[in-house]
Amino acid sequence: MKEITLEMAEKMLEAAERWAELSGFPSSIAVVDKAGAVIAIHRMDGAGPMTTDISINKAFTAVYSGAPTLMLARAIDPRMMGKTLGSGGLGLLTQAKLRLMFIPGGNPLRDEEMGVIGGIGCSGIPDGVGEISDTTAVQAGYAALYDEYD
């Protein structure tokens, strides 16, 4: 598995959407390739207009940084200032033409050699409200990919 195809992307979206449905919050879910370009995005019925670009940018950020956006959220967390990361984390804010997203819910997808081959992002499920978050939904998408194609 070196490349995410449209077919694989659709399988991931399907799985992630199932979890978003379970959470009760309609959301947008996007899958991008290793260049950070959109392969497929679905905005579920009832999901707000804002969620489209946020989900795309979360997936893009995951590819661009090679880390879950949860980690980036930590990097700019004011409570971390002066500790492990220092204020250097704020320098990330203006990168990539302001497309970096510091909200949890974007994960990179990796192949067997741990190279980044794409990303998946979800937006619409509020954090800490239920047991399912944006991150849970993208992990479900991630799992669907590896169930099917490993």
Binding site: E10, A37, V38, A40, I41, R43, P49, T52
Partner: protein, 137 residues
């Protein structure tokens, strides 16, 4: 009828089938009646910029309630309205053919945008997709 993800998926599927028959690699975008993206698929190996171009075409067709190719008439210096394309009021407006409004009777419920072939081919793909999905209505 209101645009929803099921209609969007059907239109995209039909468009991609048509593009495959024509041996073209396309992106297909579907937006709702406010111009907000509902679904977008990029075929394997289709160029990256087609994603945003398809989305722009769909946005233009949906919000202006006319095919994106018709927007070109506003660029005619001899007619009133010339200059609106230089206002810098948004970055989605496009005059490239390949975006069509999706209509339920007279009412526009969304837009479809295709990018990947020549403008004429993109329009053909749009038309074929809409004809397939809305033939029964």
């Amino acid at each position: 009828m209101v645009m929803n993800i099921d209609i969007a998926k059907k239109v995209i599927k039909a468009a991609i089938k048509q593009a495959q028959e024509m041996d073209r690699l396309c992106s297909v975008a579907i937006v709702d009646d406010r111009g907000v993206l509902v679904a977008l698929h990029r075929m394997d190996h289709a160029p990256i910029p087609t994603v945003d171009i398809a989305r722009d075409k769909a946005w233009t067709a949906s919000t202006f309630r006319m095919p994106s190719s018709d927007i070109g008439k506003f660029g005619d210096p001899s007619t009133p309205g010339f200059g609106f394309n230089t206002q810098n009021w948004n970055d989605r407006l496009t005059t490239i053919p390949g975006g069509l409004p999706i209509q339920d009777g007279d009412e526009v419920i969304g837009g479809v945008g295709v990018s990947g072939g020549t403008p004429e081919e993109d329009v053909t793909v749009c038309r074929a997709a809409l004809a397939t999905v809305f033939a029964s209505n």
